[in-house]
């Protein structure tokens, strides 16, 4: 038995969802009424409120069935793919990349055939007829929006047909199992609906499981991301010496192979630009926060705070443009152009430089630092300020010696958060810092960062088996470890101070 992917014009999964929903709703009503009637129609005779009996039955019906469906839908394509792999002549599979291409062709042809059948363009007889010579298939499917780079080969069509059959059978069994599970679940729920049954506790546990599920999904996703980066990084280190990656001093990717791929120049650029950014953002952001929270009257605050928040809402690409078109040329005017410049010096030749990117990134971080610090300063209890004023301290003495020390752990945390944002920032450096990887202390020179190199290694014509592409994952992983380390240190500092002062 096979089942097509759409029934009555609706996707099968949606139909199943509705069916399970109906079963669950029925289970709810029946279980609720059964519990009530067994208690002689008096809800006070029940352990739980009637709706809990219904909810428990609905839960039993829906959760296992839908969980099974999700797992099935996720795993079926993989199973089918592996099953049809033997149909592809092994002579065609020269390496892993080609195999991937053929497999994706097969699934696209299969999908195209499904569409063609659904629209009545092709039928089973017509497909069988072209089995040995599927030349027209490319045009037929092309007309339906499924384009192919070359003619469809007979073995691809054969594998596609096989996978369609398998998928159809798979859908049939899924349909049976899901509906059976739902019915059994509803039946159990209804049978259990007895006045003594602790339906309320069962529902409570169900809710708990749901919440744990959501939380672990978030954690698992993080793990998945890290793992996938880790695997690709391991692939990279198979092709490239790790010592050169971590300790070499040249970054010169070359798509014909034999590249110098060392992280140090990029790490240097990242750190240098972030440092400049923090030197701009931390003092200004902190002073702005102190002014706003300690000195400004309510009227000034009402205007200045939203303005700062607008600054925080500007997309970073706009800051990038600002760096490239305004700040860069402005700085060149001051520090470059020889006699024609403001200072009459020749330090800066191009608009893209560490200073340009760092300044603009600093401006971007000001609202971030100031709004975090503002919250933290506001959280310092008024009684501490009163105590200081009461001893005859001035406002700035109070801020310096009482408010800031009390707020310090939070402020350090805010600064480290800003640092990890600076390290991960991409758009501003793409446009403002240039693309030259080098280790130099001159802030007027162009440099580049880890993030921008990740972008450039993955854009354009890339071969996902070459070290030039895979290096992006190693870079990404290093960046991740770096920001993670920063966050851990931030937490550690915050915690030590807290122990000291609470």
């Amino acid at each position: 038995m096979t089942v097509t992917s759409h029934l009555f014009g609706l996707p099968l999964a949606l139909i199943l969802l509705i069916a399970v929903g109906v079963i669950a709703a029925t289970g709810y009503g029946v279980a609720r009424n059964r519990a009530l009637s067994r208690a002689g129609g008096d809800a006070r005779g029940l352990h739980s409120l009637p709706r809990y009996y219904g909810s428990a039955a609905a839960m039993f019906a829906a959760v296992p069935a839908l969980g099974f469906m999700v797992i099935w839908l996720l795993s079926q394509p993989m199973v089918v793919q592996n099953a049809v792999l033997p149909l592809i002549p092994s002579a065609e599979i020269t390496d892993a990349g080609i195999q991937n291409l053929i497999v994706s062709d097969v699934s696209r042809v299969a999908g195209g055939l499904d569409v063609a059948m659904a629209q009545g363009v092709l039928d089973n007889a017509a497909i069988t007829a072209m089995a040995d010579d599927p030349k027209d298939l490319r045009d037929t499917l092309g007309a339906l929006g499924v384009a192919f780079g070359a003619d469809v080969k007979p073995y691809v069509l054969k594998a596609a047909q096989a996978s369609r059959t398998l998928a159809g059978q798979g859908r049939f069994w899924m349909l049976i199992v899901v509906l059976t599970l739902a019915l059994i679940g509803a039946g159990i729920g209804i049978r259990l609906a007895d006045p003594a049954y602790r339906a309320r506790n069962v529902v409570e546990r169900g809710v708990l499981v749901l919440l744990i599920g959501a939380a672990s999904l978030a954690v698992l996703t993080t793990f998945g991301i890290v793992l996938s980066m880790l695997f690709e990084s391991i692939n990279f280190f198979r092709l490239h010496d790790w010592k050169d990656f971590f300790l070499g001093t040249t970054w010169a990717p070359n798509f014909r192979g034999d590249s110098d791929l060392s992280i140090l120049p990029l790490l240097w650029g990242t750190m240098y630009i972030s440092l400049v950014a923090l030197l701009v953002a931390v003092p200004i952001g902190l002073y702005a926060a102190i002014y706003l929270s300690e000195y400004a009257g309510p009227k000034v605050r009402a205007i200045a705070k939203p303005l700062l928040e607008i600054l925080a809402g500007i997309p970073t690409i706009v800051y990038g443009l600002f760096a490239l078109l305004t700040v860069g040329p402005f700085l060149v005017n001051i520090f470059g152009r020889g006699e024609a410049g403001v200072l009459g010096v020749e330090w800066m030749s191009g608009a893209t430089a560490v200073l340009t990117a760092g300044l603009v990134m600093g401006i971007m971080l000001i609202p971030f630092v100031s709004s975090l610090s503002d919250d933290i300063i506001n959280a310092v209890p008024q009684s501490l300020r009163d105590g200081s004023f009461g001893l005859g301290a001035t406002h700035s003495e109070t801020v310096r010696q009482v408010v800031l020390p009390a707020a310090l752990p939070g402020i350090v945390g805010a600064i480290l958060l800003a640092a990890s944002r600076a390290i991960g920032e991409t758009m501003i450096v793409v446009l403002g810092a240039g693309a030259i990887a080098r280790i130099s202390g001159n802030p007027f020179e162009a440099m580049t960062t880890i993030t921008t190199r990740i972008v450039s290694q993955l854009t354009g014509d890339t071969d996902f088996a070459s070290p030039e592409t895979l290096v992006a994952f190693a870079l990404g992983l290093t960046l991740f470890v770096l920001t993670l380390g920063l966050n851990v240190v931030a937490l550690y500092i915050v915690r030590t101070y807290r122990e000291q002062y609470e």
Binding site: S388, G390, L391, G392, A393, Q401, A406
Partner: protein, 255 residues
């Protein structure tokens, strides 16, 4: 009573928090080298009036003070007066203990450092020790002066705050329920301190304990709903009050 012993003179003082008229027409003369107790039911304005005396109400945006308060015959609300300097002269212990998130030593040394009272480190050490002794907490903290002041118990924190306030050698000490978190032993020590301070300073203490007011003070002021109802010798207030409201309060009928 002659005018030269009067330390603080208040005339027609009104305090508003926005529209809330918290202190109404208060006139009072507080003498030098005397302990004056402020008593009255919760919310009657004792803390508010106390805060007028060192202009702490300036830090509250909505608060407005009118009338005339003179210390040593100088109008403290005059434009020429710097509230910061005034507060160095008029110290305050708050209703809730508020030690700074610093070491015990730095807490006490805070005022003396700001006002440059010590030339040498050893001077400062002496000031800190003396203040902690007067605050009746020296024995408990002398081995851990570097520990954070916030790590002390509530009662210890309050005595630390008292030590912090006396370290700057104020002429007037305002104490807002300084013993509300203290056990009887510490309370007795603080009362001893108040008695000692009276030799040189003028002390104003807010208290909810009638016994305490009777024990430590020479003058007592009874506040009710923002009014200063009765002010006079402590003995007289507690034995033969003139106003019926005072009498019902001290005998426990309003509170």
């Amino acid at each position: 009573m002659t005018t030269d012993t009067i330390k603080i003179a208040a005339r027609d003082v009104q305090v508003y928090y926005g529209d809330n008229h918290a202190i109404k027409d208060v006139n009072v003369d507080i003498e030098d080298k005397t302990v004056t107790a402020f008593i009255g039911p919760s919310g009657c304005g004792k803390s508010t009036f106390l805060r007028c005396i060192n202009r702490m109400n300036d830090t509250i945006d909505v608060c407005r003070v009118t009338g005339d308060i003179r210390i040593d015959d100088v109008d403290i609300y005059d434009r020429a007066i710097d509230p910061v300097q005034l507060r160095a002269k008029v110290g305050m212990v708050f209703q809730k203990p508020n030690p700074f998130p610093k070491s015990i030593y730095d807490n006490v040394a805070y005022g003396p450092r700001i006002h440059g009272l010590a030339r040498k480190k050893s001077d400062l050490d002496d000031i800190v020790e003396r203040a902690l002794r007067r605050g009746a907490i020296w024995d408990e903290v002398k081995d851990r002066l570097d520990a954070p002041g916030t790590g002390l118990s509530g009662g210890q924190q309050q005595r630390l705050c008292i030590a912090r306030a006396v370290a700057t050698e104020p002429e007037v000490l305002l104490m807002d329920e300084p013993c509300s978190a203290l056990d009887p032993i510490a309370t007795a020590q603080v009362e001893e301190l108040i008695d000692e301070l009276r030799q040189n300073y003028s002390v104003v203490i807010v208290t909810h304990s009638m016994q305490q007011a009777a024990r430590v003070s020479q003058k007592t002021a009874f506040f009710h709903l923002g009014h200063l109802v009765e002010f006079g010798e402590t003995d007289k207030i507690f034995t033969s009050p003139e106003d019926p409201r005072t009498e019902s309060y001290i005998t426990g009928r309003i509170g």
